[in-house]
Symmetry: C2
Subunit: 572 residues, 2 copies
């Protein structure tokens, strides 16, 4: 394509609200334009990248036996009511009515519809199946942000495995795991799989693929030594053994004005260091009050609380609710002697002696708390948020926390949807069994943004050849010089003829503008054709990554570039 | 792919409500499944066809310089209000609100958003541009029907030309015209371009591409002799000259009980044959009453009335509205002496003498009506529906009417949207001018259905190689015969290795079932591998079109099929 005819509206400035590098560079480079909050047009360059990304995903999905479909995005609400996700998804689900008043929703994911389609499978012989699509999904995000990283409308590759038994599910899950690793590597990401919460989707094993990036919204915990990797929502660590005193008597003591962990610790360093306090929090989980107990120096990871209870919805209790429940205000709360309320406690409190906690009377605490003697814990569960430097449960080395972009997610889903929609098959013994499903997703545009987060420098994007909008740009230094232009056109035709994706910068612009634009939009190879070089029979070849330049003989440059592009086109 | 692993849920019976052949065959062949009225899933076979169709469209759009984008489907309602289409599209437009209460719509077409994007063009030098996308469109059809032919959610290739002047628009329009002809021919249609109404889109020239089919919902008028082709909404014809009597006196006469054209003609054959009557209809057009006058033997074509007025909305008047307006009931209506109401008359009435019409008093008519003397016509306009056998305006030969499926539509749109959204550029003289737009659409899934309507027999679909889900099926007559199976597998690998899209029917089924299925799903070539043939060193090659069989030497069949597929893959 000729740049003079292409629509590549590069901008000098990024949108005022843009913080993420990918947001800035994709807008400035003329890849995307915002229509409304969380809603973007893919301009021609963006769509070229998107087609290459979806092409790679398609190749890898087909390679594991995936069969592609396309499902409607507008669903009858009754389908979502049947799976109980209509209420569960709350305001994230776009809801509307048609002209007849029928309730509809815009699909967020498509477990329901795929389970309905699976009712046309009849026998274990029809399994396994891997079904996928790459189609539009909608989420009414409360806070769309960061360009393509968090949007309200996007393309998702969602796939579903259908199996007769657990080993079948495991095999389909593993195939996806491997396919995802190949996909991310091919498009230029270093994303790794980490243990994750299954959240509202239900199901058992769940792995997220995380691309390390400051623009990420997730925290990932990894071990400096071994392969331990988990989302902070799921991560655990080994705590050092605590050497408590002997069990002592439970004693109330006055703590006027001491309403925080730190204040109490400062006032009573002998009996109430943060590690010897019990932090008592009150939440409303799926409408019911829950008391959450943590060690004083630990913080709650809310997703862990949801997962422990299998809940869909959670909020902190309001001060008046807490007073009604426990008779005191935050700062003096505790679970000693409390009955009739669900009490969840973190294992860091298990067996602890001589602890301090609120007495459920303002300005009074208990000391000498023996957790197993004095508190009627309903459920022990990993609840605390891990912090950097804690100890790996696998190998004892140190854990690190970093921010990541979730670019993919794979789930062992189970039979929730097949049971809800009647997707049963006969097994080898003629027994009817619900199909076991797995569910797998990749956000296409978020993946593109993650590639930019992972591949850029101060001049702009550095696209890997595999997903670059163009593989080569030929920059004509002086379009008014007939010979220069003829040489450039000739090169252009040669490269095009060889199937290279080439952009001819034939614009009437200063060379500096052309160089800056080509670096901003991130074309992997640039051939600069100028009058002086042409006279000497050389052109300048610049690799976008590193921006190293070398002079190459005019007669050789096409072959050099075609070879190099060919070696990198597949990715990895 | 192996049929034993593929999801191809063929059915013996079509859905009870299916009338269109494409609806029946696409469901029975396992290409599509209905989720709700007008809402279909593309199963794997359907998606394979769809990808080939979109691939051909993309090639041809790129060949005319089109640049692909993807626009959001969820639009702020304010955008549609700005173009005045929010109300104009009425109930066809899906409307919803987000969690913040912002009004949104689901896009039907995307003139608005493309015009907004065009505000980043600044100079005539940035033009022309051809921008396109292939993305989901939504229409809340009152009566979805006929499978993929009339749906509520579908993929549209919509494109837009952006030009500085009329000749530029003409050039972009012509490029599309040619590209569309190639696209339809390549996917296996014989669709022709016909003159069409621009309808609610506005604009000047408008051509629809019509595929002849009984499943069509449009009527097309073509000349048996020349190139005259028009949608009935736009078609005109030459009427034979009428030799009226001299002008005579306007006379009221009693017509008790004569309330129809036929009844009046029967009772007064001397003065009131249908051709000598004036048919008077009353409509409400954009909220205002309009009297429509036609010759007694002619029928109104409602779109022509809309186009004549430039109206968006039309309905027949209610009896009470008519009585309020004219003082009489239908059957005795007329326009003689009527003032203060818009009166539109068809040219077939122009200059007519001695006509009969209602007198706006029940059971009374006028005779001796001299149209130009007695009726104050506000506007003369082509209003009547053409019928078969009428005379071509171009060449005088006979016109034919047939039903067609609209598979594409190209419009000269003008500056409506660029003016509304401020898409202006500077011309060569530095003057600011609104960009002139053209708008062009192809319904992808409707196109697929049209291919089936045009390519099938009593056994099933006959896909052209260019869009067939598989190009070749290898039917293994006895999968339990080791040698047969080995020969088939070997052939399968050879064909796959050569890049052929091949399906290996390795199912444990009777040969009759396999033959019937392969004919139902319409694979262009079938290679039947059976024990007897293998013993003799031959296989049977069957072309789907015509179902002629021939024995081919085992050593030659791969080459024969690869050659034949290669010759037809491009289409045309």
């Amino acid at each position: 394509m000729r740049w003079s005819e292409a629509h590549i509206p590069t901008l000098r400035d990024a949108p005022a609200d843009a913080e993420a590098v990918s947001h800035k560079l994709l807008v400035r480079g003329g890849f995307i334009r915002q229509l409304a909050a969380g809603s973007y047009t893919m301009l021609p360059l963006g769509q070229k990248v998107r087609l290459k990304v979806t092409g790679i995903i398609r190749e890898e999905m087909d390679a594991i036996g995936g069969q592609e479909m396309v499902l409607p995005t507008l669903h009858p609400a009754e389908v979502w009511k049947k799976s109980e996700r209509y209420d569960l998804m709350g305001e994230n689900l776009f809801k509307l009515k048609d002209r007849k008043g029928t309730d509809l929703v815009l699909g967020m994911t498509e477990e329901e519809i795929f389970a309905m389609l699976a009712t046309e499978l009849f026998s274990y012989r029809d399994l396994p199946q891997i079904w996928y699509q790459m189609h539009t999904k909608f989420r009414d995000e409360p806070r769309p942000k960061s360009g393509l990283l968090r949007v309200r409308e996007f393309t998702m590759k969602d796939s579903y495995t259908l199996d007769i038994d657990g080993p079948g599910l495991d095999a389909g899950f593993d195939k996806h795991h491997e396919a995802y690793k190949r996909i991310f590597a091919r498009i230029g990401l270093t994303a790794i799989g980490v243990q994750a919460s299954s959240g509202a989707m239900g199901g058992s094993e769940s792995i997220e693929f995380m691309q390390r990036s400051d623009a990420g919204e997730d925290w990932v915990v990894t071990c400096e030594n071994c392969d331990y990797r988990a989302n902070i929502q799921k991560a655990v660590s080994t705590l050092p053994e605590v050497d408590d005193d002997e069990s002592s008597e439970l004693t109330r003591f006055a703590t006027p004005g001491l309403r925080t962990i730190n204040a109490l610790a400062d006032a009573h360093p002998d009996i109430a260091t943060a590690e010897r306090q019990i932090k008592s929090l009150v939440y409303v989980v799926d409408g019911e009050p829950v008391i959450v107990l943590l060690r004083g120096d630990h913080d709650l990871q809310e997703q862990k609380l949801m997962d422990a209870i299998g809940a869909a919805d959670l909020r902190a209790s309001l001060p008046e609710e807490i007073r009604d429940l426990l008779g005191a205000d935050p700062g003096s709360l505790g679970a000693v002697g409390v009955e009739g309320v669900r009490i969840l406690a973190d294992p860091a409190l298990k067996g602890r002696l001589g602890m301090t906690t609120g007495a459920n009377e303002d300005d009074w605490h208990y000391k000498g708390v023996d957790v197993s003697r004095d508190i009627d814990v309903t459920q022990w569960a990993e609840l605390r948020a891990i912090t950097t430097g804690e100890t790996c449960v696998e190998c004892g080395h140190s854990l690190e926390l970093w921010k990541g972009i979730e670019v993919g997610h794979i789930f062992k889903l189970g039979t929730k949807y097949s049971e809800a929609f009647g997707a049963y098959v006969q097994d080898e013994d003629g027994e009817s069994r619900p199909i076991i499903m797995g569910s797998y997703g990749i956000g296409v545009e978020r993946g593109m943004a993650a590639v930019v987060e992972a591949n850029h420098d101060e001049n702009g994007i550095i696209w890997p050849v595999s997903v670059a909008p163009f593989e080569v740009v030929i920059t004509v230094v002086r379009v008014d010089d007939e010979q220069t232009r003829a040489v450039a056109e000739d090169l252009y035709n040669k490269l095009e003829g060889a199937g290279t994706d080439v952009l001819l910068d034939d614009r009437v612009e200063r060379p500096g503008v052309k160089f800056a634009d080509s670096e901003l939009i991130g074309i992997p190879y640039r051939i600069t054709v100028g009058p002086r070089g042409v006279a000497e029979g050389v052109v300048e070849l610049t690799e976008r990554r590193g921006l190293e330049k070398e002079n190459v003989a005019l007669g050789e440059v096409a072959t050099t570039v075609i070879d190099s592009v060919g070696r990198h086109r597949f990715g990895i």
